[in-house]
């Protein structure tokens, strides 16, 4: 039977990885990811998890080792943050191209410089186009559940792509929350043993990672994008199966009190819970405001997003990263693209806040909605506005 446990979110993620019976973990320590891999190495040392723990000399090698373990047929996990993710960058592109279902937790942290160990989304946004499925968790329970579901999604033979489960560094990774854990027998029913489609095996040799000559490169990339886009159906299937088995329902795009809303606030990650508070207050004051949250960042759930735009006139999109020199924050840019050709598409205001660990308060969210509505009314053109910054 499921049991409720008060535990740090990082440790809950490690427990999910243990319940997934991973075969291999390769990791390099970086704040704020450390508690996850520390706990995993403990679980291996204590014999609670029968896996190879490979303590590598860099994140570049962490992801390279993951390529090797996954290609050899091992269920593979790693975790990182910020600079570590940046150092992995080269290999991040190759993992999906090799169709290796690696699962990685990213404890989101600001990129240097100036060096900052605190939370924002600049790390994940910098690897947007690497070809990974990217999912966001808002709290510890979601982090636990999504970690388990990620293995099932990634390893589905219709997918065979890597997944990053994003959790906000410190604000999620280092807090103690109540989690409803699952028993091993329940997890085993949900998540069967990994069966690789191809694996490095002398009795059935394959060549992986061969040269892509001009006659084949474009087809390879088209195929990769089709598979990534198509994975959204498998993601929904797995979410549905999980909901049926364990009662907790996940959607690729989630809404909160959005029925009949004329203005929507859009968020990703743990700040969504603060945003809900702001929505409650504004609705109490009689305003037609709701919340929409992107759970899935890649593949971008454009159809699901468009389906939520019924009566919406204004959309205030929060970004926690800067696209330097660009036309708005990275999420807002994507949302604008997805809605541009839609008839009666809403006015889209891009806000950047919460950089490098800066708090985003309930009042900040109310201010975003106020500004977005005013800008929409005046039909002003702004690339983006930064909230909560001293100028």
């Amino acid at each position: 039977m499921a049991k409720r446990v008060g535990i740090e979110v990082s440790l809950a993620i490690s427990e999910a990885v243990k319940l997934a019976k991973v075969d291999a973990v390769a990791a390099y320590p970086i704040t704020p990811q450390t508690h996850i891999v520390e706990h995993l190495s403990e679980l291996v040392a204590e014999g609670e998890l029968d896996a190879a723990f490979i303590p590598v000399e860099s994140e570049h090698s962490a992801m390279s080792v993951c390529a090797g373990t996954s290609a050899a047929g091992a269920r593979t996990y790693t975790a990182t943050s910020s600079q570590g993710l940046a150092l992995m960058n080269e290999i991040l592109f190759i993992i999906p191209a090799l169709r290796l279902p690696v699962v990685m937790t990213i404890a989101n942290r600001a990129l240097s410089g100036p060096i900052s160990i605190w939370n924002d989304h600049s790390d994940i946004m910098s690897v947007r186009d690497t070809g990974w499925i990217a999912i966001f968790a808002e709290n510890g329970q979601e982090a636990f559940d999504l970690t388990l579901q990620s293995f099932k999604i990634a390893e589905d033979h219709r997918v065979l792509l890597p997944i990053s489960v994003n959790i906000d560094g410190f604000t999620l990774s280092h807090v103690i929350e109540p989690h409803e854990f699952l028993d091993q027998s329940e997890v085993d029913k949900f998540l069967p043993e990994y069966k690789p489609a191809v694996q490095l095996n002398p009795d059935d040799p394959v060549s992986m990672g061969t040269v892509g000559v001009p006659e084949i490169y474009a087809e390879a990339k088209k195929c990769q994008d089709e598979v990534l886009k198509g994975s959204i159906e498998v993601i929904k299937e797995v979410f549905a199966e999980f909901a049926e088995m364990f009662g907790r329902e996940y959607k690729v795009v989630e809404t909160y009190r959005a029925e009949g809303a004329e203005t929507l606030l859009m968020t990703m990650g743990s700040v969504s819970e603060t945003a809900m508070e702001a929505i409650d207050r504004m609705q109490e004051a009689g305003r037609k405001v709701g919340l929409i949250r992107l759970r899935l960042w890649r593949p971008f759930p454009a159809d699901d997003l468009r389906a939520e735009m019924g009566s919406v006139k204004t959309l205030a999109v929060l970004d926690r990263a800067v696209s330097f020199g660009g036309a708005g924050g990275p999420v807002a840019g994507e949302v604008r693209s997805a809605l541009y050709n839609v008839e009666d598409s809403p006015y889209i205001a891009s806000f950047i806040a919460g950089l490098g660990g800066r708090d985003i308060t309930v009042d900040d969210f109310i201010e975003m909605v106020d500004q977005a509505e005013a800008m929409a009314k005046a039909n002003e053109i702004h690339e983006y506005k930064m909230i909560g910054v001293r100028e």
Partner: protein
């Protein structure tokens, strides 16, 4: 050795794991070495290959020259990828989840750039962690795949496209070749060796020893590159022999820290015999050559001292 090698071809295993029809240049000693390594390791091994000549010439999709499982991920990480394959096969075999229960040899292979420069960190990490694998560096002393740029394995005095001998700076490469063999040995791994396809028996024997040694083994294989060294393709094998005969590339092994020469010569040739056939050294003057002779003698003396010390300790 000269006579023994006449029989080498007949005594080597007949089976081939590197197919013909690859795209290497004429006279490529690297592919010659790889073929011998493949024969020695036989059927039950997995290769993690770095980006470079070897990867390019053997794996142009939809073709592959490999009859054994082979993976290429990137340039600097062959040692890390091999670490992963080794760790995975080990744990999956332990859990009864790997399709083969025989011993599988894991081989990482890279060129000198992928080993001594950009791949040094991943190599060091893998050796330090003690994975049961063989790492072979095929050293052709420059970035040949990208057009003969200098690496830290390029020898003193060699002209390359990024260490050109010019009017103001007529020397070419100014630095001494990085001693990666000593760096590997400094990780206290059980087996380190130098090798050359010009001595096929010696090479194959070392690969066999490396595969039978539990833990990491490092083999530094000297592979003349006619294209990059600017010499006739038919000289690739003989220049490798002259490299050993002139003390430029001595053949030895370090077993659990003990040094042993595996190919010895009663009389050594002068370095000029090695330098002269190669266009990359054509610009050198007498002083440069004397300087190189001195360097080579000194390095060789130092090596002999280590061998002597090892023999004493063994006694």
């Amino acid at each position: 050795m000269e006579n023994l090698n006449v029989y080498a071809a007949k005594m080597a295993p007949q089976q081939e794991f590197l197919a013909g029809g690859h795209r290497a240049c004429q006279g490529c000693a690297e592919l010659l070495a790889v073929r011998l390594v493949a024969k020695t390791l036989g059927h039950d091994y997995i290769i993690a290959n770095a980006t470079g000549c070897l990867e390019i010439v053997t794996s142009s999709y939809p073709h592959s020259a490999w009859k054994v499982p082979w993976i290429h991920v990137a340039f600097e990480n062959a040692a890390a990828v091999a670490s992963g394959v080794e760790a995975a096969v080990k744990i999956l075999q332990k859990k009864g989840k790997y399709p083969v229960d025989r011993k599988i040899t894991i081989l990482a292979q890279a060129g000198d750039g992928g080993t001594v420069d950009i791949g040094l960190q991943a190599l060091s990490g893998a050796l330090e962690r003690g994975h049961d694998m063989i790492y072979i560096c095929y050293d052709n002393e420059a970035y040949m795949n990208t057009g003969v740029q200098r690496s830290s394995s390029t020898p003193y005095g060699a002209t390359t496209t990024t260490s050109p001998a010019g009017k103001v700076d007529p020397l070419g490469q100014h630095t001494m070749k990085k001693n990666i063999v000593e760096i590997a040995a400094a990780h206290n791994i059980p087996y380190v060796a130098t090798a050359s396809p010009s001595y096929p028996f010696d090479l194959m024997e070392k690969v066999k020893k490396a595969s039978e040694t539990p833990g990491p083994a490092y083999i530094h294989c000297f592979v003349p590159c006619p294209t990059g060294w600017r010499m006739a393709p038919n000289l690739a094998v003989s220049i490798g022999r002259i490299a050993a005969e002139s003390k430029v590339f001595p053949l030895y092994e370090i077993v659990n820290g003990e040094y042993r020469m595996t190919v010895t010569h009663k009389k050594h040739r002068p370095v000029i015999d090695y330098l002269k056939p190669q266009g990359r050294f054509r610009h050198l003057n007498e002083d440069n050559i004397a300087e190189i002779q001195q360097q080579v003698d000194k390095s060789y003396e130092r090596l002999l001292k280590k061998v002597a010390m090892s023999s004493t300790e063994l006694d």
